[in-house]
């Protein structure tokens, strides 16, 4: 016991900790940088880069660290690179850690809901803004436990640097054991020192996890220096509904007048002969459609009829093979010379043309509050000041009846509330066209009403051009000017909403409406 304590406090051994930490830090820092590069190469759409990264991973993950250490120390000098022992150990450890850390990065990035990426793209975020503002902050949170693990593993692996004469804890322990023959006291002492170091890493990991915890109630502000409100249970009562709503009186003559007026408006979206396949399966089959400014068009049709795909093609979230789509007269996603834009140019074009999108699954950014979901894209994409953006966000939240939930995270909101925030987010940059992809399909039946209410008011009060894919026939009847019925990737029937819904011409439309129970939900007005 005395000997154990003697070695535990021996300055020679304690000094070895410095080298252990130095090698670990070099290895981790290098591993993080190299791992980031490897992960980026693997995630990139560029084949050769991904192949190189995979080749690197196979080699450095597949060979023992001890060989890599000896290689860095003894083989590199033969080609003129003579690193110090610590340098060689840091290099080998970094090279060895990199593929493991790259996989942590990759799984963190892939773990962020794909829908959020789509939503960011639809908002006009460039790939780099998406990565920095949306994906990285959320990926980081999920990566901390794995990175903590990797740090402990790197620290223990640093002991292998003893084979290339780095005077770290293990080398000092073995040498001391050889010269004193106090084998066990020395190794117990150095074992305890390692435990202290790994214990410290575990403590740091827990601290970081706590600091990054979005749910943590804190008066001091979280890790990002922002104050979060405590999660409040979602109130389901009537206070939560939009405050005042007076349905606009709609009579058949009103409708007819509006329909006529709209038909004289300029074209907002023009779709000509669009063909798209998923593999062998055609999804859009020579699709044609013109939509006028201020028109509200409901897309109806069975699942797989191409409604969602059409909406995604309109703002170029999907590619198509043939045909042309123009928004506000411009071919979104194509340069003047007809070539496709790169993702960055496409993002800027989306933002400037003003095509906004609301998704079935809401796709709110999980790490941002309701207000931030609306305000921050304005700052990142449109260069608004934070103060202006927050004012705009608060006004929109007020409008969708969620002013009291401005500081709540999406996960603390009901589905209906999330969709209302998503609508407010889409409206924030004043889009000229709003695409809504089955906005109520993912909602519980009792939450559908509040979302439809918000959309209805947008249509009637704002005169926004909207294209909505929906199964809500009654809603389509009340809100839409036109109903377009799709089947097999083409337009089967197209006409004024009430007429198509109550007096369909095409047997496919009639059958669909019949299955959907149109007769019982729609009053027939002649």
């Amino acid at each position: 016991m005395d000997l154990f304590l003697h070695y535990l406090g021996l300055p020679y051994l304690l000094d070895g900790i410095r080298f252990t930490i130095a090698v670990t830090l070099l290895g981790l820092a290098g591993g993080l940088v190299l791992g980031l590069v490897l992960a980026a190469m693997q995630l990139s759409r560029i084949g050769p880069l991904a192949a190189i990264a995979r080749g690197y991973t196979v080699i450095f993950r597949g060979t023992p660290l001890i060989l890599q250490l000896v290689f860095a120390y003894d083989a590199l000098p033969h080609i003129g690179i003579k690193l110090s022992a610590i340098g060689a150990a840091g290099l080998a450890l970094a090279a060895n850690e990199a593929p493991f850390i790259a996989e942590i990065f990759r799984s963190g990035v892939l773990g962020v809901d794909r829908g959020q990426t789509l939503a960011g793209q639809a908002l006009g975020m460039t790939p780099s803004v998406l990565m920095r503002r949306i994906i990285a902050p959320q990926a980081l949170r999920s990566m901390i436990p794995a990175l903590g693990n990797e740090t402990v593993s790197a620290l223990k692996n640093s002991s292998l640097a003893s084979v290339i004469s780095v005077g770290e804890l293990t080398l000092r322990s073995t040498q001391l054991a050889s010269s004193t023959f106090d084998f066990f006291s020395i190794f117990f002492a150095s074992g305890l020192l390692y435990l202290c170091l790994t214990g410290a890493i575990a403590a740091i990991q827990l601290m970081i996890e706590r600091a990054l915890d979005l749910d943590r109630t804190s008066t001091r502000g979280g890790f990002w220096g922002r104050r979060r409100s405590a999660p409040v249970p979602t109130p389901a009562g009537p206070t939560d509904l939009p405050p005042v709503f007076v349905p606009a009186p709609v009579t058949p003559s009103d409708r007819a007048r509006r329909y006529d007026a709209l038909s004289r408006n300029s074209t907002a979206v023009q779709i000509n002969g669009v063909h798209k396949h998923y593999g062998e399966q055609p999804v859009l089959n020579g699709f044609d459609l013109n939509i006028r400014s201020g028109e509200v068009v409901a897309l109806l049709g069975p699942s797989g009829s191409g409604k969602s795909t059409l909406l995604r093609c309109i703002n170029h979230l999907e590619q198509w093979e043939q045909g042309e789509i123009r928004v506000g007269g411009r071919r979104l996603g194509f340069r003047d010379d007809g070539r496709r834009m790169n993702p960055r140019e496409l993002a800027k074009e989306r933002a400037s043309l003003g095509v906004a999108m609301v998704f079935q699954q809401f796709n709110l950014f999980g790490h941002l509050t309701a207000r931030e979901n609306i305000a921050l894209p304005l700052v990142w994409v449109h260069g608004a000041t934070l103060a202006d953006a927050n004012r705009r966000a608060d006004a929109l939240l007020e409008r969708v009846g969620l002013a009291h939930r401005a500081d709540a995270l999406p996960r603390h909101l009901s589905g209906g509330q999330q969709q209302r925030v998503a609508i407010a987010r889409a409206l924030a940059p004043n889009p000229r066209v709003l695409l809504l992809d089955e906005p109520t399909s993912a909602l519980d039946p009792e939450l559908v009403g509040e979302v439809l209410e918000v959309i209805r008011r947008l249509a009637l009060d704002d005169g926004l051009t909207m294209i909505i894919s929906t199964h809500q026939l009654r809603f389509a009847d009340e809100v839409a000017d036109r109903v377009v019925f799709l089947s097999g990737g083409t337009v089967v029937e197209d006409g004024s909403a009430h007429q198509v819904l109550t007096q369909p011409h095409h047997p496919l439309t009639a059958r669909f409406l019949n299955v959907m129970g149109a007769g019982s939900t729609l009053e027939t007005v002649h």
């Binding site: 120390y73 000098p77 040498q175 050889s178 084998f183």
Partner: protein, 293 residues
């Protein structure tokens, strides 16, 4: 106690007193022999330099940490290296590596010289040039009472397990017993490879190995550390010399070290060191070159 005495004496020694002090306890930092100034004039390129000595510091008596001050290495090889450095006017730095890595470290240029109780064999001379300085006497370390009755590197080892360091010359000698064992109808000897002296000794203490054959003084040190558990069965003579390893592409350095060693031997300093470390003056060997044929 004796170590402290040596320490104090070593700081006191100068000039004519040296010879007297050698007879007492040996001398780590003796004044350089007279020839040394001539050597420094002949090989000025090493003067004032810091050169690195790759060692496997797991062999008390030759090279190991100083238990009283683990920031230093001590032992016969260390003292001899310091004398050579002093003679040629350079400073010696140390790089601790595994035994098997001694020559690779030298070859890669991460070290300039190897003085670490390494036997100068023809095989090893392919990796480095050697200047011999000491004869080789091996001891056979066994558990107390020598339960397997091992009498040397001979058929008494058939069926036993020997612990050895990776890269030791004893390894092929033990493996070469296989045909003899087979002829005698006995199983071969098994070799367990470790990466330092302490691990080999622990293998016997833990009952994993029956013997550890290495330099006789190393064996004696182990017996001294564990007198109740270990003993030296016998000593064997191996047809090798211990050598200083130097890079093959630096003949001027090899010549300088050789000349310095000759001067040191001639002055009696090496014999003094052998006495100081209780290694026996009969170990002394006239410097010879061992280079690849």
């Amino acid at each position: 106690m004796q170590r402290n005495l040596v320490g104090r004496l070593s700081r006191a020694g100068f000039g004519a007193l040296c010879a007297v002090l050698f007879a007492f306890a040996g001398q780590a930092h003796a004044a350089a022999p007279a020839e040394c100034s001539a050597l420094q004039a002949k090989y000025p390129q090493f003067k004032g330099k810091t050169l690195t000595n790759a060692i496997n510091p797991h062999t008390p008596g030759y090279e190991a940490l100083d238990p009283n001050d683990p920031s230093k290495y001590i032992g016969f090889d260390i003292d001899l290296g310091e004398l050579i450095a002093q003679c040629l006017g350079f400073t010696m730095a140390y790089k601790p590596v595994t035994f098997a890595a001694l020559l690779t470290t030298l070859q890669s240029g991460q070290a300039d010289i190897v003085i670490s109780d390494i036997y100068a064999t023809e095989e090893r001379a392919k990796a480095a040039d050697f200047i011999t300085y000491s004869k080789v006497f091996d001891g056979v370390l066994v558990a107390k009472g020598n339960p397997k009755k091992i009498t040397g590197i001979n058929t008494s080892m058939c069926g036993t397990t020997a612990a050895e360091n990776t890269g030791y010359v004893e390894v092929p000698l033990i493996q070469a017993l296989a045909p003899q064992c087979k002829a005698a109808g006995k199983p071969e000897a098994t070799v367990q490879l470790y990466d330092n002296n302490a691990n080999c000794i622990q293998a016997i203490l833990a009952g994993r190995a029956d013997t550890y054959i290495n330099d006789v003084n190393t064996v004696d040190q182990a017996v001294k550390a564990y007198p109740d558990k270990l003993e030296k069965a016998t000593a064997v003579t191996l047809p090798y010399f211990v050598g200083i390893g130097v890079p093959k592409d630096k003949p001027d350095f090899r010549d300088a070290v050789m000349a310095a060693l000759v001067a040191i031997q001639k002055s009696g300093a090496q014999s003094g060191l052998l006495k100081k470390w209780s290694l026996g003056v009969e170990n002394l060997a006239t410097p010879q070159l061992v280079v690849a044929k």
